[in-house]
């Protein structure tokens, strides 16, 4: 078990230690985030000033710009890659794979994951996926340009667009590797949580971070196979001249595609894609909420409000998320009766989701709030979840979606939910667990600066996108001023670009803080936040094998803050019940 004698490669590169793998995922996600954020800035530049030429950018990115003008097909490649990379290679990697790997064994009292080798394999499968995805920009026709949803026929026919050449094939390949990696990780999470909990750590004593990661992993393992199948069929349509998603009689560029057999359906792909795609949203959002429950309990010095109702709501959300995928297809030509079913089913998710949001808010009731940067981001997340969640109702209602579908309302909505909410959780998690990960404290002043420069800007920016959508502006739009009816609201695009560019610049403060604290931060105590869960019962950073001696035993629930008369105001999970009167252990 001991890795103290192993060399550099086994220790830092091909490590099987879940903490190292968690950090590898985390930093890989950071690198990918830099790319994806940079692409989004090029997009915002184009959207705000579509007629402007940018000679400097043209020199920097000769493949994207011609005479200082961003090419429309490269604009679509940038949109596609921004979405794909952010969802699958940044947020999934940092939030689920990164924090999940790092925190699950520590919070349930295990020495490592159930399958350490599989864990290493899952990380080293995602690395080539990242490289292929990034490398696809150098394909002869550029990177994939059919949107992150890759709807055929556009994504299936290389004749259809410059971005549908080799770039699209590489995109599918990278996604297939990503699914393989994520499935390995998900199985590992599920097995670890079911089998490796320490003595006393019943399911009802698990912190909500672990609960949400558990549910997210089950969702992922159940839903990803649908996209695997879709990806294989799409690949065959591209390279094997099959027609799973292609009807007969297609005419592209005036040419009849007579070599195609036909008989396929583009809608089939949409069903398969969203069968994964919608649960994937919850795979990202639920762990974000779990982390925030933990951070709010620590910062608010009180148990999470409604621990049991929250778990119930999480399970209901997860189950419902698997039967509502069709709300992405209200105007696709699907039967209107089916559409109405999906609408009714989708809005029922608002009920358990509202329970989660209300429980988060109520976790501040009778709290003793101690602000730190982690808690600040957690509070901002609650506000963002409120606005984002309500926006979703407009899109889930089929009749209003007729107007709002594929508009900037959608773009604003999903950025609030799976960009703002998840990134706030990543930030909160980072400020919260940094001491445990690296044995040092982050700088709180820089943390505050990061918070105040980021939060107002991103929320206002993405709420403004909703307004653009109310004005009728559609997404994937290279030049909004082509449309007369959009010209009066073009100032909103300028406003959004400026605000979001400021927010993006503020992330360098975060990165600076991260790397500065890594080297120069004050050495952290084992439990700097006076928290109760098991990861704080071991030294910071946690040693190989997680606990120097025996594994801790869980004697109580995860959030015992101010519930008995303990002089410290909290009772860690691993503390045995004292024989003194009044200290009643929570039954298993």
């Amino acid at each position: 078990m001991s890795e103290t004698h192993t060399g550099f490669w086994r220790r830092y590169v091909f490590s099987t230690d879940h903490k190292t793998i968690g950090k590898q995922y985390y930093f890989t996600a950071m690198v990918m985030a830099l790319f994806a954020a940079a692409w989004s800035m090029l997009l915002r530049l184009q959207l705000a000033w579509p007629q402007q030429t940018w000679p400097v950018l043209g020199k920097l990115f000769p493949g994207l710009y011609q005479d200082g003008v961003l090419l429309p097909e490269r604009y679509l490649s940038l949109v596609t890659m921004h979405g794909t990379v952010m969802i699958f290679f940044v947020i999934s990697l940092a939030l689920v794979s990164g924090f999940g790997n790092f925190i699950i064994p520590l919070q349930i009292g295990a020495r490592d994951m159930a399958y350490p080798f599989l864990n290493m394999l899952s990380y080293w499968t995602v690395v080539p996926a990242c490289l292929i995805m990034l490398g696809s920009f150098f394909a002869p026709d550029g990177a994939a340009g059919s949107g992150w949803t890759a709807y055929p026929p556009l994504s299936a026919l290389s004749e259809a667009a410059p971005g549908s050449g080799l770039g699209q094939t590489l995109w599918i390949l990278a996604m297939a590797l990503w699914i393989a990696s994520f499935t390995m990780g998900g199985l590992n999470f599920i097995t670890t949580i079911l089998n490796l909990r320490t003595r006393g750590m019943s399911m009802r004593r698990m912190p909500l971070t672990v609960w949400t990661l558990f549910i997210a992993s089950i969702l992922g393992v159940l839903c990803f196979p649908a996209l695997t199948a879709a990806a294989i069929m799409l690949l065959l349509d591209r390279v094997g001249a099959t027609s799973f998603f292609l009807p007969s009689g297609l005419v592209v560029g005036g040419q009849l595609l007579s070599y195609r057999g036909g008989g396929g359906s583009p809608l089939l792909f949409q069903h398969l894609f969203w069968f994964l795609g919608h649960p994937e949203v919850y795979v990202l959002v639920l762990p974000a909420l779990g982390i925030i429950f933990d951070v709010v309990a620590v910062g608010g010095r009180r148990p999470v409000f409604g621990y049991r109702t929250s778990i119930g709501a999480l399970i209901v959300v997860a189950v419902l998320s698997m039967i509502v995928w069709g709300h992405h297809m209200f105007v696709s030509g699907m039967s209107p009766y089916v559409g109405e079913y999906f609408s009714v089913a989708t809005v029922t998710i608002t009920a358990p989701f509202a329970v989660l949001a209300m429980n988060l808010v109520a976790s501040l009731w009778r709290a003793e709030i101690r602000l730190n940067t982690a808690l600040l981001f957690a509070l901002a997340l609650i506000a963002a979840v409120g606005i984002g969640g309500i926006g979703g109702i407009f899109l889930a209602t089929a009749t209003s979606d007729i107007y709002l579908h594929n508009s900037y309302f959608v773009v604003g909505h999903f950025h609030l939910m799976i960009a703002v909410v998840t990134f706030f959780a990543i930030f909160a998690g980072t400020y919260h667990w940094f001491p445990k990960m690296f044995g040092r404290q982050m700088n709180e002043t820089l943390g505050r600066l990061h918070f105040w420069l980021t939060v107002p800007a991103v929320i206002v920016g993405f709420v403004a996108m909703h307004l653009l959508g109310m004005g009728g502006e559609q997404r994937h739009l290279y030049d909004p001023t082509v449309y007369q009816f959009l010209r009066p609201i073009q100032w909103l695009n300028v406003f959004i670009s400026i605000v979001l560019a400021l927010a993006a610049a503020a992330q360098f403060i975060f990165l600076g803080n991260l790397f500065y604290s890594l080297v120069r931060g004050p050495v952290a105590a084992s439990n700097p936040w006076a928290a109760t869960t098991l990861e704080w019962s071991t030294p910071s950073p946690a040693p190989h094998g997680n606990w120097p001696g025996e594994l801790p035993v869980a004697y109580r629930g995860p959030y015992e803050y101010r519930v008995d008369d303990s002089p410290e105001g909290y009772t860690p999970q691993h503390l045995p019940p004292s024989p003194a009167p009044g200290a009643v252990p929570v039954p298993v």
Binding site: E73, Y151, P153, A160, P162, S164, L250, V251, V252, S258, G300, P303, G306, T309, V331, G333, P336, G339, E340, S343, V344, V347, T350, A351, P352, A354, V355, V361, L364, W365, R366, A367, E368, I369, R370, L376, G386, I387, I390, I393, F394, A398, T399, S400, I402, Y403, L404, N406, I459, V460, V463, H466, G471, G472, Q474, R475, H476, I489, Y561, V563
Partner: protein, 275 residues
């Protein structure tokens, strides 16, 4: 507790931030951004959107108020009670949003939304003006049946530069078919029934002012039914990414008075006779 008392200014700043965000959101949505509605069912679509705005706005404000109050009350180091919560309180705190959200949202979908949904997807009346629109990279080919009232056969293998719609000259019904590009003339106040054909990739036929949006899917005949209620020129946008020219795949619906519409139709010559 002195440490938590020192954070009062930050708590005030935080409350101000949430106040600002909420005010920005409410003020933003209180403004009217939508292009003036110009169709019969569009009034219903707008009614659903306005219902949702009015029903969910107060929920957002209420939630923000509770959050801000908790910050103010429990964030300044003032003594608080022990945080014990009975399972009864937890139960009601959960039941309330379940009932509340279900009421608000299902009313939106079923009571307000469903009748409009049915109007949009209804069978076309016999007197509906029938138009056939083919979407292709990156234009809208608009076909009228001509004086015989019948659309001729079209086929993909007949498509060529001189025959973009792929009209079949052997079918007599296609001899008087009228084909125009990127403009659709429709009469005011009369039901219009458009069939949407795709032959290359996905597109989406969207006319924001008419509150019309329907994907164009190769292999499926999708339909759009609307009654225009205001004369004017309304832009068509493609709202499903379809390749490099997606952003400029636009056209216009011209809503004419019935007399103007008839006059316009009379001026058009059948496509096959132009050749």
């Amino acid at each position: 507790m002195s440490e938590t008392r020192r954070q009062t200014p930050e708590i005030v700043a935080l409350i101000t931030l949430f106040l600002g965000i909420t005010a920005f959101t409410v003020a933003g949505f209180a403004m009217d951004w939508m292009p003036p509605v110009a169709s019969q069912h569009g009034v219903g679509v707008d009614r659903v959107i306005h219902y949702l705005l009015h029903a969910t706005g107060p929920i957002l404000v209420l939630g923000a108020c509770v959050l801000m109050w908790f910050l103010w009350r429990y964030g300044r180091g003032r003594p608080t009670q022990a945080p014990h919560t009975s399972s009864r309180v937890e139960f009601w705190w959960s039941i309330a949003p379940v009932i509340g959200m279900m009421a608000v949202t299902e009313v939106g979908v079923v009571v307000k939304g469903l009748p409009v949904w049915e109007e949009i997807y209804a069978e076309p009346p016999a007197d509906a003006v029938r138009i056939d629109v083919t979407a292709q990279q990156f234009e809208w080919l608009v076909r009228y049946p001509g004086p015989d009232g019948k659309f001729g056969r079209v086929a993909g293998d007949l498509v060529e530069n001189t025959n973009p719609a792929g009209l079949d000259p052997k079918d007599s019904a296609s001899h008087d078919d009228i084909v125009v590009r990127n403009q659709i003339h429709v009469p005011l106040g009369q039901p219009v029934y458009i069939t949407l054909r795709g032959r290359d990739v996905l597109h989406s036929f969207s006319v924001p002012a008419l509150r019309v949006k329907q994907d164009v899917v190769p292999g499926i005949l999708n339909k759009v039914l609307f009654v225009a209620t205001k004369p004017g020129r309304y832009e068509i946008a493609c709202t499903q990414v379809c390749g490099m020219g997606h952003y400029r795949m636009h056209g216009a619906v011209y809503v004419d008075s019935p007399a103007d519409y008839a006059a316009w139709l009379k001026q058009q010559t059948a496509w096959l006779q132009q050749q």
